[in-house]
Amino acid sequence: MSFRYEVRLSGEGGQGLVLAGKIFAEAAAIYDNLNATQSQSYGPEARGGASRSEVIISDEDIDYPKAVHIDLLLALTQESCDRYHHDLKADGVLIADKTMVSKLPEGPFKSYFLPIIETARDQVGKQLVANIVALGIIAGISKIVSENAMINAIEARVPKGTEELNRRAFLAGVEIAKKLA
């Protein structure tokens, strides 16, 4: 059977969500031979970076590149959590950052409060890589894209010299996901 998997990464400008989305899509498309699209919403003009990044992954052609029914929502701020959880499928998954989100919304979906930013800052050593930690969690939970593909995609995208740091961030995320299973 064919599938269409929709992920929304939400938060605020500067959190690297567009990059994370793009890496996710590249992992799926380039390394796992799936179809993938990634799109985003912007603040005023192009400046502030996006507050929302969506990835659709499918084994078929992806006609509509925007989320319709979200399978997985990442929320790195309270605002984005409040605003977007409505679009989650009933059997969807909400991943909220423990530091930034204080109140989880009600809903039929599964919700997790996870220490994403904290892990990046304290365990990996750089808050900036929270987006990659999140990717590890998403990879681990969704199982849509292989870990190898993700690692390859990450290493191809991040600045030279930071590959090791990012790989650690990703694996830290995968670990967090494993504990949930």
Binding site: A25, Y31, D32, A36, Q38, S41, D63, Y64, P65, K66
Partner: protein
């Protein structure tokens, strides 16, 4: 499904990036532009890539200067392009008319955002459709294409150059914010898979060259400045030799050729794609990003056993009137989803007269059209 593993030709690109790469593949070697959201990445990619192939990138002081520069560069022999969005496209109108009148091949990319005016700089729309046809003063020819995928952003950019060169006319590539910014898996065609067309050079000596000659297909051969032909180019009404004229007969002859040349060659210009149309009872006409929602909806409809079909415009202007008419026959109704207030729907109504209803689905709030909206309408009608 093919097996997993890295493919060397697979990329994840945005529509804007693919457009820039398409232009390079088409042989574009001169870009002038002025930044504007959501088109700026086209310029950004080209500022990086053009010098690598010996081409020129220049950021001009505004959009008027940008289109002026690309017309100049095209006359000097470089395939040339600019990219902009609504406000910049409005500013370019005078010189788009000049390029039409002086028959200078250029490509103008308009990555549409919400209007009117400054409007919604980071949100998509498809509301510059009529402007692409009528934005400049006077009757004039223009070609407009609308890609719907990242891959098509590449291939239709190549086609835009081919058409511009074939017919000596400005070609507008109507993208939109969604397509411009979506990152999508894509395998681009290899250079050897692409057909690249260059302007037809004159077969005659400089003395006999008429830069605005009346030829069989309505398109005069063209030679670049500096190649020994020394002719005159003007935006004034002119005769075959290119010099201004006030003689009514010559004016009329010029303008009829000019305005007729695209219609004359329409079968080489008008392009569209139909899906699931053989037995369709409900037809959906769409284009650009909206056509992706439409295609999704038609699939959903077919899954639900409804005989829906998609007619997707790849060429917006000249309008696919004959083709639409031919596809109207067995339909109950057309549905026209678009991110504007019905600009193409109006043309579809003109085509079908009152033979069948034309239902509009319009969205102007900055959101893309949702496939479910279209699906609901299909159900309602079927």
């Amino acid at each position: 499904m093919a097996e997993k593993g890295k493919s060397n030709r697979v990329q994840v690109l945005s529509g804007n990036e693919a457009c820039a790469l398409g232009a390079l593949a088409a042989g574009m070697r001169f870009y002038a532009g002025y930044p504007i959201t959501p088109s700026s990445e086209v310029a950004e990619v080209l500022s990086l890539e053009l010098p690598k192939v010996g081409g020129v990138f220049i950021q001009m002081e505004d959009e008027i200067a940008s289109i002026g520069a690309i017309i100049g560069a095209s006359l000097a022999g470089s395939k040339s392009m600019t990219a902009t969005s609504g406000p910049g496209f409005s500013l370019m109108q005078e010189n788009i008319g000049y390029a039409s009148m002086a028959e200078v091949p250029i490509v103008i990319v308009n990555v549409m955002r919400g209007g009117p005016s400054t409007g919604l700089p980071t949100m998509p729309a498809q509301a510059d459709i009529m402007q692409a046809r009528w934005g400049t003063h006077g009757d004039h020819p223009v070609i407009a294409l609308a890609p719907y995928s990242v891959r098509e952003a590449f291939t239709l950019t190549v086609r835009a150059f081919n058409l511009a060169e074939s017919f000596r006319t400005p070609v507008v590539l109507l993208m939109d914010e969604i397509l411009g910014h979506v990152n999508e898996k894509v395998v681009l065609p290899l250079p050897q898979e692409l057909e690249i067309v260059d302007r037809v050079r004159p077969q005659v000596s400089p003395q006999d060259y008429l830069p605005y000659a009346f030829t069989k297909n309505g398109v005069p051969p063209m030679v670049s400045f500096g190649e020994g032909y020394r002719y005159h180019v003007t935006g004034l009404a002119h005769d075959e030799s290119g010099f201004p004229t006030n003689q009514p007969e010559k004016i009329e002859r010029l303008l009829l050729r000019l305005n007729g040349k695209l219609e004359k060659n329409r079968e080489n210009i008008v392009d569209f794609q139909v899906d699931d149309f053989d037995d369709a009872q409900v037809g959906v006409i769409s284009y650009g990003s909206s056509a992706r929602a439409a295609r999704h909806a038609v699939r959903l409809a077919r899954e639900a056993g409804i005989k829906a079909g998609l007619f997707r415009l790849k060429t917006i202007w000249p309008f696919a009137d004959q083709e639409i008419e031919a596809h109207t026959k067995h339909l109950k109704a057309w549905i026209v989803p678009e991110m504007n207030l019905g600009q193409i729907a109006h043309e579809v109504e003109w085509v079908v007269g009152r033979s069948i209803p034309v239902h509009r689905i319009n969205r102007i709030d900055g959101n893309p059209i949702n496939p479910l909206e279209i699906m609901a309408k299909i159900k309602e009608i079927a």
